[in-house]
Symmetry: C2
């Protein structure tokens, strides 16, 4: 799906264009959790509450806010009044104390924002295993309340405060006209490292370094929102990897304020779903593009697989191969590493039927290097910031698109220095 294919929506990566979805306010402050002293507590509130769908990480180890958030959504049946995010401390592997302190922040937020504490969804990102400084979050709440607003500047502050090693904020926006009314979607995300989301249903083990918040003024039930969110996540956030490390805190939260009173029907579900998919795809792409130490963004287009699962297996094996990723960092058309990774992916195929292209350059066919292999041209393609590698398995009709990146010495430097 490309932006061009969808006439009814208008995607902007900049939020400086009105309107944002109605029925929400955003705010952020500096609470002293980040060592850098930057914005580190972000809040989004829905004064009239919103219906929510959520997907959490499938990691078996999950952060306290994921445990608490899941519990809250079960109790309320998916009703949310406030989202309370902190960056700088993941509140993961912090035991019962982590749960207790997380709940304390929700109780304090409920008082500040005039809701019940089950309607507060907490999120945390940052280092794992360090006691959670709840007192800093709680002390910051009055300042956040004073900072709330519904302008693009407020939404941008929210997007900035949730960042950790991100170098820039990640936002995306779409407008869909439904029955003559404009329905808005705004999304904010953070990523950078420990990025290989494997999001599943909210019931089950969760934890996240990728945090995504999607806001819309559509009127929809939690059940309807879940049906929209799952496929949007599957094709976007579940199809990216920076380093193959699936975080303990990954969260995608979709909130619908209902402020437009517009509901979906048979005709309008598809345009809205397309707009939501594109917002998610844009954010997913932005996350890889701003990955730790990334020099090149590579889209793996795996085609000709027997099943979608096998297509994804091949994409993931390549996306997680240090040898493929280091070759990309120097624009080295060492396609043999792509084939070797596909070979150990677990997918079934005959190498004689495999066809590989780097950009538009054919490199491998009929079991060997293509006779017209132009190494210089392939190298030139790979010198671009972004390009596509196509690998056709020649086995069936299933495919997938997976966005990943190179592995650079800068990534090693960033992650070797993280906690020291």
């Amino acid at each position: 799906m490309s932006i061009e294919q969808n006439k009814v929506m208008n995607l902007e990566q900049e939020v400086n264009v009105q309107p944002l979805p109605r029925g929400f306010k955003w705010g952020a402050v500096k609470a002293g959790i980040k060592a850098s002293g930057k914005l580190d507590v972000a809040v989004a509130i829905a004064p009239k509450t919103a219906n929510a769908a959520v997907m959490y990480t499938k990691n078996q180890v999950v952060a306290a806010p994921v445990t608490v958030g899941r519990r809250h959504l079960q109790v309320t049946g998916g009703r949310v009044a406030a989202v309370l995010v902190n960056a700088g401390n993941a509140n993961c592997a912090t035991g019962q104390a982590g749960i207790d302190t997380c709940v304390q922040t929700c109780v304090a937020a409920a008082e500040t924002f005039h809701c019940i504490f089950d309607e507060v969804i907490p999120s945390s990102t940052g280092i794992i295993g360090v006691p959670f400084p709840a007192e800093k979050v709680i002390a910051a709440l009055p300042a956040v309340e004073a900072a709330l607003g519904d302008t693009p500047a407020h939404a941008e502050l929210f997007a900035q405060a949730i960042m950790t090693t991100d170098t820039r904020m990640k936002i995306a926006r779409a407008v869909v006209t439904i029955d003559g009314a404009e329905v808005n979607i705004f999304g904010a995300a953070k990523g950078a490292g420990m990025i290989h989301p494997q999001l599943g249903a909210p019931i089950g083990p969760p934890h996240a370094t990728m945090l995504v918040y999607l806001f819309t003024d559509l009127s929809a039930s939690t059940e309807e929102l879940n049906k929209l969110l799952a496929p949007a996540v599957e094709q976007s956030f579940n199809c990216i990897s920076i380093d193959g490390d699936t975080s303990t805190n990954d969260t995608v939260l979709l909130l619908a304020s209902g402020d437009t009173r517009t509901r979906l029907n048979e005709q309008t579900t598809e345009p809205f779903a397309n707009a939501l998919n594109q917002v998610c795809y844009s954010l997913a792409h932005q996350i890889v593009d701003d990955g730790e130490g990334v020099g090149h963004v590579v889209t793996l287009h795996i085609t000709g697989a027997r099943t979608p699962v096998e297509a994804k297996q091949v994409a993931k094996a390549i996306a997680h191969s240090p040898l493929c990723k280091t070759a990309w960092s120097s624009a080295d058309p060492n396609w043999g590493r792509l084939l070797a990774a596909a070979g150990y992916s677990g997918a079934t195929f005959n190498p004689e039927k495999v066809n590989i292209r780097i950009g538009t350059q054919p490199v491998f066919e009929l079991g060997m290097r293509t006779p017209h292999f132009d190494e210089a041209a392939a190298h030139t393609t790979m010198q671009q910031r972004e390009y596509t590698i196509t690998l056709d398995l020649g086995q069936g009709n299933s495919e997938c698109r997976f966005i990943t990146c190179d592995l650079t010495a800068e990534y090693v430097r960033i992650n070797a220095d993280y906690s020291t």
Copy 2:
């Protein structure tokens, strides 16, 4: 199993101690395949032939020599007269031409070494996808024949010629006294990158950057050798990873010349198996220790798993996690990354029951950082060249030991420059 536990054998990593297994000769020459101009064609011959057991990579994409080697062993029922190895070109993803040129080298070797061509086992390591320079191998054979000998110096030349990005040769030796006779084992290996062997039965898809040759003068059938080799490989080469990339050429070949006329019986099988296991473990350890860019060798001791498979799943997730590996490169005791990797490994466990130690330092217990966590002491442990991380899952009695290493900027540099 440690060296101390086995009284009957004597393990030496240096070959400069007689005797080597009888019934073999080794030789190597410079054939101009390596750009560096170093030794690149190695041959081992068994003048009276040897019985062989082999394990090849499980990668679905395999190099021509693996396809040809498997075919030869099937035809001869496991009889080998010569092993012909080249370094500098993997002869993988080279199509039918790769098979044809590989066969040509075997035919030429059979003429040179006076055997039938099915008794020649070919091996190749190096870059994938580049046409195989068979003519260089063939032209070098008379010089190899002239260079053959059975002294430690000859065996060392063999071990040096099979190297690619290895910085030093890898050899191990053991002597077992069986019924009053000394039975010798000599092993030579190469590794360095694309090291995450997944070796399986010889029937099935194969290709390899890890090459291991084991020679013994025991008298044993192919069937007996296979029974000894499979468990030795499972606990050694199948329990190491440098970068998680499983090569298309990985090969472990065990040859028994029968020169001692000593056969195994119920009492002597275990001491011999122990000696073989230790030679394999020593070579596997040497491979990780000399991995590309390695600064630290880390043994992951996973205990308390429900099954051996789950123990290995946890070890592999940690061993392949760029975040864990980069933290090790700077001796950063960021144990949260270990727990997160275990969490997405697919193994089932309750984080509250997990216990993690770095060396002897406790770091995580009862779902949180241990109260006595001594970050400085953990950091000091991790500054050593080699140490063990113990992760007890608290679920059962299964365990595994897995040897891996850190991920450094030097690894990135080596592999970003490989083919350009």
